[in-house]
């Protein structure tokens, strides 16, 4: 129904360049999530797609047509704002029907469409209330309903769930995923929340300071981060980053020496590195476990028990602290010496410039 193409999109506020050349292709019915640290330009990019912010240079294409100079209402998009931006003096019904009314749609058809949207979002009982008589989650649904009735080609969401409590957020996440399936629409979604990004996205776009760091499926980003930034940004708790040096390279991978002389072999491409190069070894918290034969030695600093998971903070011999994630409730106590066995296959090697050495084999789920 709708594809989006961004070609070298740039945005400057005065002399400051905020978006520094973004290229992106969004396929029909795709659910794309923009993530990145605060101030990286996620909202700006979304607002440029919406037409609320002028595009300084580059081309924005919807269904292959350049729309840089098309007004926001005529791009066939709908946006859900973080603050919901409901019209406070209108009832829920009028809020949802506003766009149709402006478009001159006759009353019966308006009512029919609003009732249909209210059915999808379970808003039926609230149609005659004003926004301030609704709870946060209901307001959120009205904001979504307002965009549904216009039957847009693309939905844009700017952190729509960030004002909700954790339980409601989980529920709305499921509803949005269901809605995506039911409406079969293209969706672009901005969020801070790792879980939202990982669970809902077909494709995640990681942004930093106005630059796209990596685009890919959630598991691709998780298992094959392109660089240090993505490796550190995706995944919670964060990936452990240990400085090290390449010991030797061969066809089966790269051997890296880290803190205290431990040697870890990672099956990564070694074409562009040589022995002695300084590198960073990225180890996911779940890629380590205590084992007497482990490569890393250290002492447990703190054990966080979450019930289903245990997070061990371990001080290595060189003073660095790593986080280890274990299944279930582990009995390890603080100040206990441990050795950690590292699963080399799940580790990542980043060269001096911060780029990852590609793994020799792709993860089966990360196409």
């Amino acid at each position: 129904m709708a594809t989006l193409n961004l070609r070298n999109i740039r945005k400057s506020y005065g002399p400051v360049e905020t978006i520094k050349g973004v290229d992106l292709d969004i396929a029909d019915q795709e659910f794309v999530v923009f993530v990145g640290p605060s101030g990286c330009g996620k909202s700006t990019l979304l607002r440029m797609i919406a037409g609320l912010e002028e595009i300084t240079s580059g081309d924005l294409m919807i269904d292959g047509k350049r729309v840089n100079d098309v007004g926001p209402a005529d791009r066939g998009l709908a946006m859900v704002f973080q603050s919901y931006a409901l019209y406070p003096h209108m009832t829920v019904r009028n809020n949802m029907a506003f766009a149709l009314k402006l478009a001159g749609v006759p009353k019966e058809e308006r009512d029919r469409k609003v009732d249909e949207a209210a059915r999808i979002l379970q808003l039926g009982p609230y149609l005659d209330r004003t926004p301030k008589e609704l709870s946060g989650g209901q307001r959120q649904r009205v904001a979504i309903g307002r965009s549904i009735v216009r039957n847009p080609r693309v939905f844009l969401f700017d952190e729509p769930l960030s004002n909700l409590d954790a339980a409601l957020r989980g529920q709305m996440r499921i509803e949005l995923a269901r809605l995506h399936e039911e409406l079969a629409a293209t969706m672009v979604y901005v969020t801070h929340d790792q879980v939202e990004a990982m669970t809902m996205a077909d494709k995640i776009v990681v942004l930093q300071s106005g630059v796209v760091e990596q685009v890919g499926s959630p598991l691709e980003l998780y298992h094959h981060p392109a660089n240090l930034f993505v490796g550190g940004f995706i995944g919670s708790p964060r990936m452990n980053m240990l400085p090290g040096r390449i010991a030797h390279v061969d066809r089966t991978g790269v051997a890296v020496d880290v803190a205290g002389g431990a040697r870890i072999v990672v099956p990564a491409e070694s074409t562009n590195v040589a022995a002695g190069n300084p590198v960073t070894l990225g180890i996911r918290p779940e890629a380590m476990r205590p084992e007497p034969a482990g490569q890393l030695a250290g002492e447990v600093l703190l054990a966080e028990r979450l019930g289903g998971l245990t997070l061990l903070h371990v001080t290595l011999t060189d003073g660095q602290v790593v986080v280890v994630q274990l299944e279930g409730s582990d009995s390890t106590r603080p100040h206990q010496p441990v050795r950690l066995l590292v699963d080399g296959e799940a580790c990542h090697v980043f060269n001096e410039a911060g780029r990852a050495l590609p793994h020799l084999e792709r993860h089966p789920l990360a196409a």
Partner: protein, 303 residues
Amino acid sequence: MSSASATSVAVPPRSDTSRTPSMMPLLAPAVGVLLIWSIVPLVMTVWFSFKNYNLMDPTVSGWAGIDNYSYLITDPDFWVSLLNTLVLVGSVLVITVVGGTLLAVLFDQNFPGQGVARLLAIAPFFVMPTVAALIWKNLMMHPIYGVLGSVARGLGMTPIDWFADYPMVSVIIIVSWEWLPFALLILLTAVQSLDREQLEAARMDGAGAFAQFFYITLPHLRRAISVVVMIETIFLLTIFAEIFVTTAGGPGNATTNLAFLIYARALLQFDVGGASAGGIVAILLANIVAFFLVRSVARNLEV
């Protein structure tokens, strides 16, 4: 815990009532001043409105009964002044609210020189009514020396003698000029408190500039507008200095409002009794207006 609640129950519930008498002397001065302040003039006005009392003619005295009132009500000047008051208040309200809203929306936009423009627009509010009226009378509207007259002559037209030909319009212009900044100030802060995302959402919904104004901005301004209307009404009912300085109520009674009529009765005709009756009518009028205004404004403020 239990002992504390037991003692508090044991204390007789007299503490409030026993404190009241001892507080009365302390409150009395404040309440007394307030009482004298507001009640004495009112009572005196009511008192005089039933008396024959002329400053120039001490032989006329004694009770007048309702003569002052019946004389007032049968006086065509009174009805004209009542009408003039309503025309003045109504016109100025319409001009300042409509103009203030438009200016507020305008000044909310970003444009070079915004700060200076805002300052200039608000400046008239700081000019004293007498001074403002004098400036308008002598520097602006005077057919010979006035700016408007020069402009008219420059365009080859006959200058208008504003205060002779359009006295009420002239007074309305002056008073509107004084009160427009007030409306602008209140409405500008209200416009600025409007959530930008609402306007953006409306833009996404296909609302043009006019639809945004009528469907989003104007409803948002409703409370601020009702506040402006209430405050301005209270002050506009008693407009005096502008009329006194420019037209002195004339020509004839063309610009005599209730406040000026009362002044003329008391200090031009020295008829304190008749003036007091006019004052009582003015109080009643103000209260009726205030009653409806406060009710409608209070309803708006609840939202």
